[in-house]
């Protein structure tokens, strides 16, 4: 016969930790400052700071470019210009991250943009909340926007041309290193692949935030 000894155990916490170093976003108004999108539901969506600013931007410089609608019509004596003034809310801003030889953006950034597309703020007829767009490299102003869509490549917005390149260089295993094989595998963002096609984000301006 053997004698056994049992212990009353003092609980030991099971913990996991991750340490990261904050990256800069630049000072607003500075040309190097990174733009961002802020979802009104901050409990579920962290602010999206662009990994890099777009290469091209339509209908916006330091402010919304609301181009009037004009038409030239003939009259009895001459041609006349008809001009229809537009409002801010009629302006759609488009941002383009050019792909091709330059590669457009890391895949994780695209997912962050797409997250804004897929999760519009809840409809509220009394106090509607909007995603805030901050073109911080252009202006101190911020804008309420409706994200219309996010497109990869030049085709249908609903079809993402997602050939990915890897930061280490060149096409590689199509399986992302961030994919998890088991539920507890970590999803490290640093080796995230880079999209080689244009990424086009379109947003409808609602109003400038005063």
């Amino acid at each position: 016969m053997t004698s056994r000894l049992y212990q009353v155990l003092q609980g030991t916490a099971v913990t996991a930790a991750s340490t990261v170093t904050l990256l800069p976003s630049g000072v607003q108004g500075d040309r190097s400052a990174l733009c961002r999108l802020v979802h009104p539901d901050t409990s579920n969506f962290p602010a999206v700071v662009y990994y890099r600013n777009p290469d091209r931007r339509f209908n916006f410089s330091t402010d919304v470019l609301k181009h009037p609608i004009t038409a030239v019509v003939r009259t009895a004596s001459s041609s006349k210009l008809i001009r229809f003034e537009t409002l801010d809310i009629d302006t759609v801003v488009t941002e383009v991250w050019q792909g091709g030889r330059t590669l457009s953006m890391p895949l994780f950034m695209f997912h962050q943009l797409e997250e804004m597309v897929e999760n519009p703020p809840d409809f509220d007829p009394i106090d509607q909340q909007y995603i805030i767009w901050e073109p911080r490299n252009e202006t101190d102003d911020t804008y309420k926007v409706e994200v219309i869509g996010c497109q990869v490549g030049g085709g249908n917005p609903g079809k993402f041309n997602m050939r990915r390149w890897y930061a280490a260089g060149g096409p590689s295993d199509p399986v992302s290193p961030g994919d998890r094989d088991t539920p507890t595998d970590t999803m490290d963002v640093s080796p995230s692949p880079i999209i080689d096609q244009n990424v086009i984000l379109t947003m409808r301006i609602i109003e400038k935030v005063v």
Binding site: Q10, T15, L23
Partner: protein
């Protein structure tokens, strides 16, 4: 170590509790302390008539507090584990604190041995020499001219033959030269030099003498440097009819001088007996001990060296594991219901029940007097959510008397073995109710007789004591208060287990349920609960490296570490351990989803000057997969 259902867990390593005898202020538990609760051997116990048959034995020992915490512990119940153990004298351990009561005896009624000076209760609180020291559980003797002695008169037969062993647990408060008797057994109440067993201190030397038919026919040995001032020493003297052997603190020692080494016989008949002093004399015992004596005992056999070593526990909680005590664990019932009875702590591996079975009464009937249904792990069904959010529930313990007669003067104590670590407390119900009523009370939906502090003492049996009562020493059980339980009736108490919010996984805790009978015999069983059981795989990651003005989604994932399956509805917390920024839902328990995930949103500071600073986010798992 994962906790599984079939294990009965015993407290051992938790050192808090009652290590300091001061923590047991009224010594109502005999100074038992938590780490004394050592051994467990489990198996099935069957009965054949009135004889218990041990197919395997269960052994739970309570050890007395050492007279001095710096000195080795002596496993008192191991005395009884040697089947030839016949007598144990321990101050304050008997029916009255003023007597050297007999706790362990193989037969008969307690012997009429009392202090020469009769003490009353008022003496017990003082520190006068020659009085019972409750804290040390020893008697202090003042030495020469103190006239202090514990004696047996008239002479009786001690039941020892020419093979015996005697122990004494003493502490000299002087190392002066002279004769300071520890123990003497002889044929006359007055001084005799024949047929004598005696040992004493002179300076730091131990003298041991066994005399035969004449005062000069003797075995006489001395052991130099045996004593040290103010230091407890455990002396064991063994005799096999021809050889005298002395042990110090469990180890054999060799004699230094041997003035006489004759052949000695006939020392086994009726004898007088004294602790301290040479003569059985009320007014002039002569050569009294100077210092403390904790206990003295004897066996009717010659203990082997291994057995002696096993008696001495140097604080590690274990004697010699090579010794097999199977079937030898005895706790004897003394007092009005005195019978030679073995009390068995049983544990049914099938039903999970555990409790006491005891022959009781003059015609011993084997019956239960205590049972915990579904014991072993009373509260092991705490869910992860309860663990995270905090939970209180109750379990009943029934005292079930099937002995055939009423049990009276039985006291029960509940001692938290790790107080302060897990927020344990108990509530007691006092109804003596029938068996059929027991099952109708749901511990999960009812708080039976849960009372406030002020009402507690008036509605519970006096002998039940809450831990906080115990710790503060208040509300001690009234003297003479009885807990009477009629045959075939239950009484029950309820143990309330409080799991504080955010209890960590694998927390467990235990109580010790002690039953004390008339005469001071104590038996104990553990009551243990564990909060959680399984190991998990657990990870944490961020979906992006946060930038200033930005943030990250921080996801914790829980999976079964064996199957790798996502664990849903588990509780985790995520918090910033260091660094700038804020975290939504910090410290609040989060439930994992179907993917085993729970997430929180980290918002980095809106200050680019914070760039380059590190942020450490920590996640803690609180609940296990169910």
């Amino acid at each position: 170590m994962a906790l599984t259902g079939d294990e009965l867990r015993f407290h051992y390593t938790v050192a808090s509790g009652y290590e300091d005898p001061q923590a047991d202020p009224d010594q109502s538990l005999g100074g038992y302390r938590s780490e004394d609760f050592i051994q467990e051997r489990e198996g099935d116990v069957t009965t054949a008539g009135t004889t218990f048959v041990f197919t395997d034995s269960k052994q739970i020992n309570l050890k007395p507090v050492s007279p001095d915490s710096r000195t080795p512990l002596v496993n008192s119940d191991d005395y009884a584990s040697a089947s030839t153990f016949v007598h144990w004298y321990r101050p304050g351990y008997g029916d009255a604190d003023t007597e050297m009561g007999i706790d362990h005896a193989t037969a008969g009624t307690p012997r009429d041995i009392s202090l020469q000076r009769s003490l009353d209760s008022s003496d017990l609180s003082s520190e006068q020499p020659g009085q019972f020291d409750q804290q040390r559980e020893s008697v202090t003797f003042t030495g020469a001219a103190g006239n202090q002695q514990i004696r047996q008169s008239p002479a009786v037969s001690w039941g020892i033959a020419n093979a015996w062993s005697i122990f004494a647990w003493v502490r000299p408060t002087s190392t002066a030269a002279g004769t300071f008797r520890i123990f003497r057994m002889g044929p006359s109440a007055t001084q005799e030099w024949s047929y004598e067993i005696t040992f004493w201190r002179d300076g730091t030397t131990l003298h041991v003498r066994i005399a035969g038919s004449t005062s000069t026919t003797q075995i006489y040995q001395t052991y130099n440097s045996f004593f040290a001032l103010d230091t407890w020493v455990y002396i064991v003297v063994t005799w096999n009819g021809t050889t005298l052997q002395v042990y110090k603190d469990g180890s054999p020692v060799s004699w230094d001088t041997q003035p006489d080494n004759d052949s000695v016989t006939q020392i086994d008949s009726t004898r007088y007996f004294s602790i301290s002093g040479l003569r059985m004399n009320y007014t002039d015992p002569l050569e009294e001990w100077e210092g403390q004596i904790h206990s003295v005992g004897m066996w009717s056999s010659t203990l082997a060296a291994a057995e002696v070593a096993d008696l001495v526990d140097f604080g590690d909680g274990e004697g010699d594991p090579a010794l097999d005590h199977t079937g030898k664990w005895l706790v004897f019932i003394t007092g009005a219901n005195a019978v030679d009875a073995r009390k068995i702590i049983y544990h049914d591996n099938t039903t999970g029940e555990m409790g006491f079975k005891v022959p009781w009464g003059t015609a011993p009937v084997i019956g239960e007097i205590f049972r915990i249904s579904g014991a072993r792990h009373l509260f092991d069904d705490v869910t992860a959510q309860q663990c995270a959010e905090g939970h209180v529930d109750y379990r009943g313990i029934s005292f079930y008397n099937t002995t055939g007669g009423s049990l009276t003067d039985v006291r029960f104590y509940i001692i938290p073995l790790d107080p302060g670590t897990t927020g344990l407390d108990i509530a007691c119900g006092n109804a003596q109710i029938g068996a059929s009523d027991m099952d109708t009370i749901s511990p999960d939906t009812q708080e039976p007789n849960l009372v406030t502090d002020s009402a507690f003492s008036s509605t519970r049996p006096q002998s039940f004591r809450r831990p906080d009562d115990y710790a503060s020493g208040k509300d001690a059980p009234a003297s003479g208060t009885s807990f009477s339980l009629a045959n075939f009736f239950h009484s029950n108490i309820w143990i309330r287990r409080t799991t504080p919010a955010l209890s960590k996984r694998k927390d467990s805790a235990a109580w010790l349920l002690v039953m004390e009978e008339t005469g001071g015999t104590k038996t104990a069983v553990p009551i243990v609960y564990d909060v959680l059981g399984y190991d998990v795989a657990f990870s944490l990651d961020l979906d992006r490296i946060p930038r200033t003005f930005g943030g990250s989604r921080v996801t914790a994932r829980v999976a079964d570490d064996t199957l790798g399956q996502a664990a849903q509805d588990e509780s985790v917390t995520i918090e910033i351990d260091s660094g700038p920024g804020t975290l939504v839902s910090e410290t609040q328990p989060l439930d994992t989803d179907v993917n085993g995930e729970a997430f929180a949103i980290y918002h980095s500071p809106e200050d680019d000057a914070e760039a380059g600073n590190s942020v450490t986010i920590t996640s803690t798992f609180w609940g296990d997969p169910t």
